[in-house]
Amino acid sequence: MNLTGEKLKREPLIHISKRGALPFWKSWLIRLGAIAASLLVCAIITYTLTKINPLSVFAALVQGAVGTTRKIWTLLQGVAMLLCVALAVTPAFKMRFWNIGAEGQVLMGGFAAAACMILFGDKLQPTVLLLVVILSSIVAGAIWAVIPAIFKAFWNTNETLFTLMMNYIVMQIIAFFSHVWANPKGSGQINTINERTEAGWLPVIGNYPYLLNILIVAVLTVAVYIYLTHSKHGYEIAVVGESENTAKYIGINVRKVIIRTMLLSGALCGVAGLLLVAGTDHTIKSDTAGGRGFTAIMVSWLAKFNPLVMILTSLLLIFMQQGAGEISSGLGLNKSFSDILSGVIIFFIIGSEFFIQYQIKFRKHKEVEAK
């Protein structure tokens, strides 16, 4: 009797345990709740800093993000580009390969596209040139991604830190070539490449400069979804990610899967670089990727690596970014305001995963009284 009393006294107030599978709708209810809570916090932050009426904050957000046709197009382009990079990092993440070098891989792809446009702009036939531009950017992205993968596969070199460092190397490479190919000479930066001939530019559908990018990314989204969920490769990626030992036992060549997946991941990053440089920007700068390599990781993670859900998560982030950007520029405040809000939303969503995976049991009152 005394012993049990002793035991009960020691029972902690809360007890955390892993949940079984939660019904689909319940887990999404929790996520939606987290998003709602984060939006509330965002409204409070916006109100304290700008004194805009909390209700009209949301109206201003919507107005800023999708107020005009032009804004809708920019929004869609933003979503497409972020989604493209997110698609690229997803296969690697599913394999638990922490590639945070997507920024550099996108830049490398864009850099290769720009290099071909500059070097072969007036030497090759337009169609041949376009093919060369497309191929070279995909290959360049893949090469930049496969270097850390090879070291990971053979020597287990830490890929997080390796890929991170690769980002800065490519930025300096671009800085170097910005001087070599400076246009106009001596300016230290590359302005619109082949402005007159438009050689190497991706074609524009109708009058919509962003439409081609959006369509390509839409096709890629479906393709990556099928690849991950309905192909042997996708299955192998999932097994390696869940448990490398299991993968070895059932005869999956882990090294091969790591290298092959990173080649794919880098190639998709190369496509993103291609779309940015040959599709819309027609130039290359060391910030062409614009932090998408990092944001994409959060997009992919928040969507639980599901390419179709990633459409929603990237839409949410870009929507907030553009909306908050409009609010802050309207008030003459710094545009980094949107980064603060994105940060808050992400904190809430990644925090909410805990409540989906685990359940908290409080100490039962009855037993306490029984003591």
Partner: protein
């Protein structure tokens, strides 16, 4: 340009990196790979700036600034700001078991956003009638050096010409090195980072160690931001000026093989590499393009160290074994 000046600027360039890497080493030793360090350093810097800004603006006469308050207020604000960032990270990764990489990257976005937003909008927000955030009074207090600096010529310039925060950085790095390698709590902390399940079984509180290491690490890293803005940048905040130094600090952690005492020399070396193109330019004139190739050096060197250590597999040179992994007692 002489060698003493080069060493001097390499050190001032290296001190923010030293703070950042010392903080990150302590954090990583607990098994937390805090990729939010760049954001933490931004927040440390801007918190100090905000504190100093309000203090300087509350003075009727700016020439009668109280140097003790001028140092204490930004210092406390900086520590508080970076502590909050450390707490956000620890709460999400340790208590809520969120993924460390994602949390860290979100923290960096958030922190850099806070830095640039408040740096760019502080004047607008408080409706002050000035054009830019320039805290010359506070910076003057922070930059005060030992009076003996000028007496010893070049030796004085190399060894005595820095402000107190620079010496504090070196002191903190040495203390951290001794703490990690020679003390019982340091051993416990390393145990948590290497194998949390074993540490837990031995009665060491994993959560407490992770929280403490991450928060203390963040506060140390935040000081790097403060040093940068108050000393290196003369109290002038400009957006994005801090640049990629936070990532360089993380690179330095690998480069020094998780040892704060190596980090003292490593950070000065990285600081030198960051600047060396200016000096080489005096002997071998080169264009800006080549200079940017030389700026690649710290990153290339870090990758080489990473590769060589992973190939040699010397046990004492490896990252903490559970780095980046969450710990949940019931998981097996």
């Amino acid at each position: 340009m002489n060698i003493a000046m080069f060493v001097h600027s390499a050190v001032t360039q290296g001190i923010p990196l030293l703070y950042g890497s010392t903080g990150e080493i302590i954090t990583e030793k607990s098994g937390n790979l805090n990729l939010g360090i760049p954001g933490v350093m931004y927040v440390g810097a801007i918190s100090g700036v905000i504190g100093a800004f309000f203090y300087e603006n509350s003075l009727a006469d700016k020439s009668r600034i109280n140097s003790a308050l001028a140092i204490l207020i930004p210092l406390l604000c900086c520590l508080l700001g970076s502590l909050i960032m450390g707490l956000i990270y620890s709460f999400l990764t340790t208590t809520l078991r969120a993924n460390q990489n994602v949390t860290g990257l979100a923290l960096t976005t958030f922190g850099v956003g806070i830095g640039n937003f408040f740096g760019g909008s502080l004047i607008k927000l408080v409706k002050a009638d000035i054009t830019s955030v320039a805290l010359s009074g506070t910076s003057y207090c922070f930059k005060r050096t030992l009076p003996i600096a000028t007496k010893f010529g070049k030796v004085g310039e190399i060894f005595f010409s820095y402000s107190f925060l620079a010496y504090a950085a070196i002191l903190i790095a040495i203390v951290a090195a001794i703490f990690l390698r020679k003390t019982r709590p340091g051993l416990n902390l390393r145990a948590v980072g290497e194998n949390p399940a074993t540490a837990d079984a031995a009665g060491i509180s994993v959560a407490k160690n992770k929280y403490l290491a991450t928060c203390v690490g963040s506060m140390i890293a935040g000081l790097g931001g403060l040093y940068y803005v108050m000393d290196y940048a003369d109290g002038v905040w400009s957006n994005d000026a801090f640049g990629d130094r936070g990532w360089l600090a993380i690179a330095l952690v690998i480069f020094t093989l998780w040892r704060p005492d190596f980090s003292i020399f490593g950070s000065i070396l990285f600081g030198g590499l960051y600047l060396v193109h200016f000096y080489l330019n005096e002997f071998i004139p080169m264009d800006l393009g080549t200079q940017s190739l030389i700026q690649m050096a710290p990153y290339v060197v870090t990758i080489l160290v990473l590769i060589v250590t992973s190939m040699r597999k010397k046990r004492e040179n490896q990252p903490p074994a559970s780095l980046g992994l969450p710990y949940f007692r019931e998981d097996r």
